[in-house]
Point group: D3
Amino acid sequence: MPMAVLKSFLLVIFSLAITRTATAGDPNILTDFIVATNDTNPDGSFFTYKGFRTLYQHKPPSTLKVLKAGLAEFPALNGQSVSYAVLDYPAGSMNPPHTHPRSAELLFLVRGSLQVGFVDTTNKLFTQTLQAGDLFVFPKGLVHFQYNADPHKLALAISAFGSANAGTVSLPNTLFASGIDDNVLAISFKTDVTTIQALKAGLAPKP
Amino acid sequence: MPMAVLKSFLLVIFSLAITRTATAGDPNILTDFIVATNDTNPDGSFFTYKGFRTLYQHKPPSTLKVLKAGLAEFPALNGQSVSYAVLDYPAGSMNPPHTHPRSAELLFLVRGSLQVGFVDTTNKLFTQTLQAGDLFVFPKGLVHFQYNADPHKLALAISAFGSANAGTVSLPNTLFASGIDDNVLAISFKTDVTTIQALKAGLAPKP
Amino acid sequence: MPMAVLKSFLLVIFSLAITRTATAGDPNILTDFIVATNDTNPDGSFFTYKGFRTLYQHKPPSTLKVLKAGLAEFPALNGQSVSYAVLDYPAGSMNPPHTHPRSAELLFLVRGSLQVGFVDTTNKLFTQTLQAGDLFVFPKGLVHFQYNADPHKLALAISAFGSANAGTVSLPNTLFASGIDDNVLAISFKTDVTTIQALKAGLAPKP
Amino acid sequence: MPMAVLKSFLLVIFSLAITRTATAGDPNILTDFIVATNDTNPDGSFFTYKGFRTLYQHKPPSTLKVLKAGLAEFPALNGQSVSYAVLDYPAGSMNPPHTHPRSAELLFLVRGSLQVGFVDTTNKLFTQTLQAGDLFVFPKGLVHFQYNADPHKLALAISAFGSANAGTVSLPNTLFASGIDDNVLAISFKTDVTTIQALKAGLAPKP
Amino acid sequence: MPMAVLKSFLLVIFSLAITRTATAGDPNILTDFIVATNDTNPDGSFFTYKGFRTLYQHKPPSTLKVLKAGLAEFPALNGQSVSYAVLDYPAGSMNPPHTHPRSAELLFLVRGSLQVGFVDTTNKLFTQTLQAGDLFVFPKGLVHFQYNADPHKLALAISAFGSANAGTVSLPNTLFASGIDDNVLAISFKTDVTTIQALKAGLAPKP
Amino acid sequence: MPMAVLKSFLLVIFSLAITRTATAGDPNILTDFIVATNDTNPDGSFFTYKGFRTLYQHKPPSTLKVLKAGLAEFPALNGQSVSYAVLDYPAGSMNPPHTHPRSAELLFLVRGSLQVGFVDTTNKLFTQTLQAGDLFVFPKGLVHFQYNADPHKLALAISAFGSANAGTVSLPNTLFASGIDDNVLAISFKTDVTTIQALKAGLAPKP
């Protein structure tokens, strides 16, 4: 195959692999690592991610702020089955109930305190109040939340995932801000359409 | 190899599979199948499940009824990465939003019609109205629902899962009937505690 | 190894990893789902398969008819590790011994009765006579068959697989209609070439 | 870490590996290796298998002889996803059509010549005549055979498998010596019961 | 399902998970989580690990100190495919070349600066100098090291692994403090026995 | 299914496997095998590798010679999770300490004798002296070596791997011939820069 053809072909595969599909990754890979399409000679900088430096210059956010370092932000994670998120909780802020379809989450509370919980598939709730230095594991695919109940102090956590792209399903938004029919939701939550519409209004993105 | 040796060998393999080795199912297994601990000589009946026969004698249920054939009901599925559920929808009934943490779901609508939908991790809603004979795939780990909107006719579906124990997280119950703190839910859903308590009351198990 | 050779080797490995290698599918995927290359904006219809609707208009077939919904027919199954087949057995018809190299099979007998069996790797035969409503699991990779012994009534089954592309190796055809040398078969089956040729003639596709 | 602590730690890991954790082999394991239950202090001999030494003292067999080094013979292979078989083909001998449900086979012909073949799931036959030094790969789960067509010379091969327990389904025996009903076989192979009974008689174990 | 049934069901699932089923961790599990054998009713504290609290009371160590939260320290990680280590580097300290056989490592430099590097299977070295806030990924199974070259300031990093038990092979110790024969090492490193003995003496544990 | 349809189907499957899919390797594949991009009609020769024939014509090498049959040399191994290496040890030669990041190694000593050893993650050394006919398994990812201590006789071994591309990290070269800074190595090995430079000089490729 001539080089030019190889390169175009390579480009196609990569755009597939990276942007939409698939890829490699959490299944085992057959190479040491996977490089980006147009990177013919990767060096140490390909394996370095600087997007978390902002943590050191930041003013505390006014609402929950999640900084991710996953497949989308850091392509060298492709095939390595690991990623990070840093969570910055202002006083009184909530990370509402959500799931990660492709990984467990191992949270390390760096600063402050945090009320955490998850619900297993038998509908049993597990909760804990964490102090700085504590770890908590949210098992794969289960609904969980974190709440900084302190009215004055911020909390800061770092979470590790056993997948380069764990994915997040935020339940308030998935249920009430994705366009599911009012009637479907009213029946599902055994309430009336008026209540559903009020919930939707509260969760709608602000203009 | 003489039969006696073969049998001892088989026994060794089985005891390996059972007592030491293990593996539950969905990862590949190292034996043809995994038998229950106290079943020293399984025959064809071990691989047969009769719990669905009731479908043929049943009176239509008054609320959604789900009949499962998974690892708990049918132990021969251990290690075979597949299971079934049959869903019986009375007119107007809902299978409320839920996820399966360990498998995609491939639904085959046997009778009636059904409105189905799921939401992906970018919060995009995908819906479809199915007629008898249609298949719909709900990707692994995503929130989905089915609604028999017909006011008079029942609907019947069979769903296949690529795991012997897909698990189910029913979201109305997980969120509002597992004991999560009112305040956590009120902040998460951007509403007040009164609304949360009303939702909880509606979803509480009837005495 | 000199550096130049090393580099070429690296290139080969990379191009292998990228251009050729591959596979989608039953290993875990890193995205919610995998869309077809030219489908830039999939909607609910991408996740819907209508090929089984014909079951509702069909005249009973005169020979065994298998309708599949796998990766080839229903591309949304890519990466979801599940697929279906519907099997339509006229009275007296046989699904001859075969294997599925990539999945166990979970058969649900919807109508009629069926004699089923499989043989494990110790050459032990497991059989069962199923009635409508029964499930039977054929473990991954083992030889199995189904026979509608009833002289008058048809049988209908739906089978689920824990792979989007389980594959089928039909043994009569694989052995006697793929072109394997007469002599190889005669020695293998401890018979004469005349018998092999007779078997081949019986199994040859009709003109 | 002091040695004593290390040892306790090791013990914990081992007991995890054995009593609780486990996993059978071919899925990844969470320990370096898996030791037998009653082996508290394995040394180098646990990782050594001497069963192939007989190859160096052997008189050529009069029929095909297969020597295996898999999970049953060599327990240290548990969790390591690899095993061996040595195949000793007298002149004119056949390894009849068979499958390995849990692995591909990579055959290395050490001595003599060999006709080999396999059939894929589209019923296409692939054949090759190998000479000493050649390798041939039989893909996972497909029907394959080897035939030493030379009337005078023996052949010797070593085969590697990517599973500690690949399993073998010998098709002549599975089909005609496991007790499958004559009628089922006659219909499946489009022949008469007399032919089936003759085949069964030929393949029956000699008293 | 009534609570009592649910609980029995849960118990069954747990006993399956523990006694029979198992699976060690990193392959997928068939349950939400895996509890310790004697823990019949786990609560939130089972999913909490407090061993990192010492980080908040600690005096800076005089040599490199690694604090782990893996399967051995935190049993709830079983089956969840993720773990942590915190690395505390005094000024001028080294984490010498090592590998993790079961996972990539994603290092987040919390404080200070760090020279890092790894070597791929083509013997190419990748290096980088990290500042606080930087991430670096060491691909699975490759040799890597970290060096705090600053003569005055400490460095602190947290590393995530995509396995509950990544394992560590420290190369100076593995090679020169495990008892490998002097002669084997001298030939391997193309040096003399005297040099090997000097290296061994330097790396021997202090009495 | 008629042949023409079958072929188109095959083509679709192949193009799926090749163009769309994704990632590398040893995870399960969704097709029988994976062909090279430009090979539209593979036959038996695609599954045959002749690179080991040279073993039968070879003069004994003067230094250790390793002949590989992996993904790079034999593309049909793609997706089949198995590969080979043949190792030719002149009298007194060493295969220095190394690891394979992606597979265990199962060595079969064909001729001569061999001292082998590996070190586990607790730094325990396991050694054995093998004679012709012995097998030894080096667990996945651990440091191991082989030494032909006999001053006169050559040794010959064949090794199987449970991956098509096991990878090799040769430790003397990785540590002392990849360009790692002298100072990093001196601190790591608790020696001086002069010793490191002497080791580097000994291991540097000869001009």
